[in-house]
Amino acid sequence: MKVIGKSLLLAASIALAGSVSLAAAQEISGGATTSVKPMSSNLGAVTQKRLDGADMEKTDWLQVNGGYSQTRFFPGKQINTRNVKKLRPAFIFQTDVLESMETAPLVVDGVMFLTTSYNHVYAIDATTGEEYWHYIHPMGPITVYCCGPNNRGVAALDGRLFMGTLDAKLVALDAKTGTKLWETQIEDPELGYSETMAPVAADGKVLIGTNGGEYGVRGFVKAFDAETGAQLWTFYTIPEIGHEGVWATHDATGRNMLRDIAAEKRMLAERGGGFYKTLGGGVWMTPAIDRETNTVFFVVGNPSPDLYGDIRPGDNLYTNSMVAVDLHTGAYKWHYQYIAHDVWDLDAVSPPILTTAKGKDGKDRKVAIHGGKTGHIYVHDRQTGELIRFSEAMIPQENMWVLPTPEGERMLPGANGGVEWNPMAVNEKLNLAYAANLHQPMTYHVEPAEYPGGDKLWLGGAFKVIPGEEQWGRLAAVNIDTGKMVWKADTAQPLMGGVLATAGDLVFTGEGNGWFNAYDARNGKKLWSFQAGAGVNAPPVSYVVDGKQYIAVAAGGNTQLNFKRGNSVIVFSLP
């Protein structure tokens, strides 16, 4: 029935256009929303009040990482350590796009909103998988992006959904119908700007960063008016003045980064600081927001070019940093840089989490934490940015910080981490942060290369995995009061996707080989697994409809690690 209804509708639209020629049909498919089943009358608007309560929300999943704190913790405990072994699929929703899936679906009043690669959006019944509508973004002629045509989800506010697109637009859709309400060009895709992250909506604004650290962009976080799409403010992650910083010789953990500061200073004197326009500093993942102080927290990615540092002297602020800015104005509050003048692409990607942890004096402090590609979890004071502590390394480290050479130097972790973009989760009752890690031994190679104009990948070298050396993944549980790893669960393949924690004392994460697993949050014992048939490389979510708890995750594989592609969101419940 579903298919017939849809095809009739499409046929009708094509007939209306008066032509089945390619160009005409393309116009129809571009930007078209097809509807299949009437939208559920239960769907209400996601008000600011609901978003402000999302961290404690017991039924819906209103933001990609749960709420503004991004703990990815669901308070429901219907599914728990005792009964999780009975968990089985409730339905499988197959999208039209067979490509890498990194989406975290939202669930609002029993309606699920999910995205795919190439910026499709679906609204489906979160209990049956029946489709309400399907939106296909009319992609512009120029897209320039690294690491796959991914999309990581939408933000919701007041009946609208917001999505960033590969051609660097911000699009607002009517949540009920999927109709496009407005779109805004965020930046010029021809210069390497693109969007894969989920925006965050707060206080009438939609906040979004940018990809492009592999193309020589100048990174930013921008705020747009949620009603009109008008731009409100821009915070550039690369300041025009002062990006050389303090000429730090050591990283956040106190290790010498072997910089030749004298040579860098000579280069800066010679070239000037004008390279700020191409210094990179993408913001790949959704910011966290502290609504009490209206502070926005995000992490900034690598400088451009990734591995060739000679032509970008200085600390390259605010690359590889956590940054806090004012929600209303975008004004700078503080930053903390983990690695100055990075030449390994071991940057900061995984989204910050707001929680509490013990300060050095043993008293509870409000903190912002970040899981680094270095394999450390960094714990900051939320007010000042002070680094309270960093965790022990969750994965093997070797030879840090050897400088890349033309022939390649072996160093661990490899350039994908540690913790890649994978969102972590926190169980505050147990004081544990859960991080999905990669172990990929690599060699780092440098190759001098000038800015190629924004339309070509600009790495200034390469990183390669070492044949014969084992790669694996590790789900690590870290006590953020002590920085100690409390347990670890190793997996056959590097982990890419993200973590969900629940009040049922469970932790969920997926693997590239198709296994989707539930672990005991207290000790890491694997309690349940499901073979999805394609890589499970997306952050899981949980929600409740009509008193029944569900777990949902996308199984679409992954471009970056070339895990088997799929096209599905799989939803689980107890029988």
């Binding site: 390669k464 044949p467 070339n562």
Partner: protein, 191 residues
Amino acid sequence: MKKLIALIALLAWVPHHALAQDAEAGRKKAEACAACHGIDGNSTVPQYPVLASQTARYIYLQLRDFKRGRREDPLMSPMAANLSKEDMLDLAAYYASQKFNGQNSRKTDGDIERGRAASDAALCTMCHLGGFSGQNEVPRLAGQHYEYTLKQLNDFKVKNRTNDAGNMTAVVRTISDEDLAAIAAYISILR
């Protein structure tokens, strides 16, 4: 009805490869290219690349680089010298919209498994995508002539070809000639 659905499903994909340029105009302009690249971009001569199904973005940037002298070839440089931006975009749109016919020069007696392993180690598909299907400015390589691919890899290695922003140069520098040949063989059998 099924055809219509298929058409729509296909169209969801087409825009990423075919720019909103005039592929039809490109078809006429491509007549000058047919002697080497084939009428539909399915070149039958191993030293000239298959262009059918190549990404439009890559074709455009390479033509532009030939014209600007950033990439050099005794045959292509003069061909590109007089092309306008519109010409280049039209040609790119045309070849991107053509279907690869699977008749490329393959190296079936090459060490395919070795090539696959070497390409895994070099993380080729992180940029070229799974199956070497290409994306945007990163070319599709699946089904490319063995001889052409191998020449490009060698050109990157000895820096005869330098219009890659250093990426490929860095990648191939430490790959042995035997492994490069195996990678080219592996790529040639992909579809």
